[in-house]
């Protein structure tokens, strides 16, 4: 294996995925280098969410390979739970656990999966909550929080176990417009601190500012990818131009 490949944190090749007769991913290749932030753009239904779920082993793939570091995590013999414990995922609809306090939401995986003592997990979670600006909400239940606050808790929950890769699936799409900023600001901070992030997003200005690279997905295939500034300012493919014209209009 070459040094270039070794530096990749996540590398997927030839990913195929169908739901019944509908082929959602038609052979997708994507790589994610260490500390790289990649924005996944494309219309609704282009396969962004499915790709993120396949990479996070939350959806079985029909064909292709996924490497996390040097390990082929698409091998059926691999223990999926162990792999998922090394990844962080945040969803459009937050999916916080309503029966647990904010603090317990953040510490659950540390305590149950990583077998960290409760006190240690809670100290760490308190730090994270302070960092996302929600130290005073630790004892509250999620239904007392605004959408933006819930999504920030979801991010704290995802990073509590120091994941190697953060998969963000349109995490601002379900938020009221005035709450989008606080969540994007947090992602920007994580990126500047060196997190490795693959994010599906409709926020083109944010992708241009924060992402190192942009991948444009259309109808289950990657049409164009490259440095964010060049893809977003100077797209080479007609389909990319048409998409960008629609979303920035």
């Amino acid at each position: 294996m070459s040094d270039v490949l070794r530096a990749d944190v996540l590398r997927a090749t030839g990913i195929h995925k169908s739901f019944g007769d509908r082929e959602v991913l038609k052979g997708v290749d994507v790589t994610l280098g260490a500390h790289e932030v990649v924005a996944l753009i494309g219309a609704s239904g282009s396969g962004k969410s499915t790709l993120l779920r396949c990479l996070g082993l939350l959806e079985p793939i029909d064909d292709g390979q996924i490497f996390l570091g040097d390990e082929d995590i698409s091998d059926p013999r691999v223990d999926g739970n162990r792999v998922r414990a090394r990844l962080g995922a945040v969803f459009q609809s937050f999916n916080l656990f309503p029966h647990l306090s904010v603090l317990d939401n953040v510490t659950l995986a540390s305590r149950v999966v990583h077998r960290m003592p409760r006190r240690e997990a809670e100290t760490r979670a308190a730090e994270l909550l302070a960092r996302v600006g929600l130290a005073d909400k630790a004892k509250d239940h999620p239904d007392r929080l605004s959408g933006g606050q819930q999504q920030r808790v979801a991010i704290a929950r995802a990073i509590a176990t120091d994941p190697e890769v953060l998969l963000l699936d349109e995490i601002t799409s379900a938020l009221d417009p005035e709450l989008v900023g606080e969540v994007l600001e947090l992602v920007r901070d994580l990126a500047s601190e060196g997190a490795t992030i693959l994010m599906a997003t409709h926020e083109m200005a944010f992708a241009r500012d924060v992402a190192d690279r942009v991948v444009f997905l259309d109808a289950g295939t990657i049409v164009e990818q490259g440095p964010s500034a060049s893809v977003l300012r100077n797209p080479q493919e007609a389909r990319t131009r048409a998409f960008l014209a629609r979303v920035t209009a």
């Binding site: 996070g56 939350l58 739970n81 162990r82 998922r84 414990a85 090394r86 990844l87 962080g88 995922a89 969803f91 609809s93 999916n95 916080l96 656990f97 309503p98 029966h99 659950l108 995986a109 149950v112 999966v113 990583h114 999620p142 239904d143 929950r157 995802a158 176990t161």
Partner: protein, 257 residues
Amino acid sequence: MLIAILSTAAFAVIVWATVINTEGWAKVQQGFFDPATALEALPKVWDGFLINLTVLGISIFTVGAVALLIALLRTLRGPVFFPVRAVAAGYTDLFRGLPFIIVLYLVGFGLPTIVGERIDELFLGILAVTLTYSAYVAEVIRAGIESVHPSQRLAARALGLNHVQTLRRVVLPQALRKMTPALMNDFISMQKDVGLISIIAGLDAIARAKGVVATTYNFTPYVVAGILFILLAIPTIRLTDWYTARLREREQSGSVL
């Protein structure tokens, strides 16, 4: 409030006057509500009632364990587990369809006959109640588990929790809140259905009442046993009403649970 009190009082007077003046009331009173017979029957019926309570108390745990097991078997995914799911589904179909009295006959009389020796009646009663009620409760638990949104399971899996951890930490705690009213209704049914073990057990409240009825030729002991069962059920009924109302209130105020 005042109108309600006046109306209730007026209604009570009318009912009382009507009943008292009905021809045959004296006979009803003597046959069903005779104080002397009630006093004579009460200690015996109470002794028997303790047996019903024992069966109920133990059955709560056996039904809970068996029902949870069946419900979890029915939620197993994948073609490998098809036979397990089929057996669990067959069990719930069978025992929800089968009249409880037939289960009692088969277990209470059939089983000792097949085995060829005497089996403790308490054990047989608990077995019959458990077989039947596990089927109902398993369905309630399964419905509760399925009512938890799939995105919750997804979030738990994304954190690396395995199937059992996901069930224990995320799915079941949420399911339990949703299924509590239905579980309590099944519990109320169970509280009175433990009375049916008098068919196989000669020592429970109803069997003891029957014994007194046979000697006094007065039906008051049945009423005494009935009152004991009602007194047992009322707290659960009120609690269920209160809890259901509270859940509805919370849902309407917009919180998730």
